[in-house]
């Protein structure tokens, strides 16, 4: 349930964003982070960005996910 994925905001209109993590793209809302902009990296949990995250931390998590055989499954699921 606590699973959250770092992703980059690639499109943003009001509080609705399209985010990207390693080429996987999906919709997320930024209601909980009023100050974000396109290009920011955020942690996305169950379709909502909950925190900003820095480049280094995001990369580490992506590398970790890349080694998981079920990454595609986890990006599709709000919790595992």
């Amino acid at each position: 349930m606590c699973l959250a994925v770092p992703a980059r905001i690639v499109e943003l209109e009001d509080d609705r964003a399209k985010v990207d993590a390693m080429g996987n793209r999906w919709q997320a809302r930024t209601t909980l982070l009023p100050d974000v902009k396109v290009g920011d990296l955020v942690l996305v949990h169950a379709g909502f960005a909950i925190s900003k995250v820095d480049e280094e931390d995001a990369k580490k998590t992506w590398e970790l996910f890349a080694h998981l055989d079920d990454f595609n499954e986890t990006t599709d699921k709000p919790f595992g």
């Binding site: 349930m1 997320a28 909950i50 919790f79």
Partner: protein, 352 residues
């Protein structure tokens, strides 16, 4: 990275020798549970430390009585259930949502549940709102949206829970075996690490927030053991990249504008005062309990399932007679085997 792990191992070993007994650390986050098992952290831990998987998986802590209410609503012709994935397989007294597929939809976010209400205007969409503080703000957002947009065929069956009261209840129990808590990462993003101060101050147990990488978990365990050896239990966040002292204030404000704190039933822990959330009276039109005149009564579980004791750290999954025999991930009896974040599922998949 290996250096850091080795150093953590050394710190843990030295601390355990000084403490002179086994140190029992409970994690209260399903993602920590999965990360610990999948990465093999258990196998590289010195013998002096035992990890317990506590009430950190929302599916696992949801009371049987709530599951039965969900199934009752699914059986109504006018309702459509919107739920996060794992809840679909949790058995109630009469089957599960999986056996009612025509009446339920898996959603990836609370927002999708609200969209379903627009897609099915002739049904009342009931969102199965479970989860801890990480998930609650999303429910708050969609309830507010539904109110603003005047969407009447949407409501929320709220079972959101608060982590800190559960931690306090575990420590208040006479059978408490917990020396310290490895505090959840993403819950802490929302509530901030200061939220655990009452646990440290009242019960004098270390509370350390950890990230999810194996090295981060090892370093947090080393910090906990070191605090134990020094006899100085403290509050510390070691997931500084995203966890601040005060948390996400926007999310907290939304939650407190949408919900009141109330007593809640937990599987294994029973009724815990002020440990759950219900919609405020101004949003009662969106409260599924009120709309359908339902009350959640504590559920009865007569299957022999010991998930409740597992969640309290009292027994290991293998101590349950059903584990791996009658109860497997393919054919689960208890919620800790249903959810991939559950302790039983992790034990089954990765071994002890």
């Amino acid at each position: 990275m290996l250096d850091k792990i080795k150093k953590s191992q050394e710190v843990i070993k030295a601390a355990c020798e000084k403490v002179g007994r086994r140190i029992q650390v409970m994690e209260v986050c399903g993602t920590h549970t999965v990360s610990i098992f999948r990465s093999g952290v258990r196998s590289i831990l010195p013998d002096g430390v035992k990890l317990l998987s506590g009430p950190g998986c929302p599916v696992c802590v949801t009371d049987q009585g709530y599951i039965d209410v969900v199934l009752q609503l699914a059986d109504r012709d006018d309702c459509l259930i919107a739920t996060y994935g794992d809840m679909i397989r949790v058995p109630g007294q009469d089957g599960s949502l999986e056996t009612r597929q025509a009446k339920s939809r898996i959603v990836l976010s609370a927002d999708d549940a609200l969209q379903l209400a627009k897609t099915y205007p002739d049904k009342t969409v009931v969102f199965v709102a479970v989860g801890f503080e990480t998930t609650t703000p999303a429910t708050a957002v969609v309830v507010r949206d539904a109110a603003h947009q005047g969407i009447k065929n949407f409501c929320v069956l709220c079972a959101h829970k608060l982590v800190v009261p559960a931690m306090q209840t575990l420590l208040s129990a006479k059978n408490d075996k917990i020396d310290a808590f490895l505090c959840p990462g993403h819950v802490s993003v929302i509530i901030g690490y200061e939220a655990y101060a009452p646990v440290v101050n009242q019960y004098k147990r270390p509370c350390v927030v950890a990230g999810f990488e194996p090295v981060q978990i090892m370093e947090a365990l080393a910090e906990i053991c070191d605090q134990m050896a020094k006899g100085q239990p403290m509050l510390k966040s070691m997931y500084t990249a995203v966890v601040t002292a005060e948390g996400n204030l926007t999310a907290q404000a939304l939650v407190s504008d949408t919900f009141d704190v109330t007593d809640a039933y937990w599987r294994g822990l029973g009724k815990i005062e002020q440990s759950g959330l219900e919609l405020k009276p101004k949003y009662e039109a969106f409260d599924a309990f009120k709309r359908f005149g339902l009350t959640e009564v504590p559920g009865q579980c007569n299957t022999g399932c010991r998930c409740g004791e597992v969640l309290c750290g009292l027994v290991d999954p293998k101590d349950c007679g059903l584990f791996g025999q009658a109860c497997t991930p393919e054919s689960p009896i208890g919620p800790c085997m249903v959810s991939s974040e559950g302790a039983c599922a992790a034990w089954y998949k990765y071994g002890s």
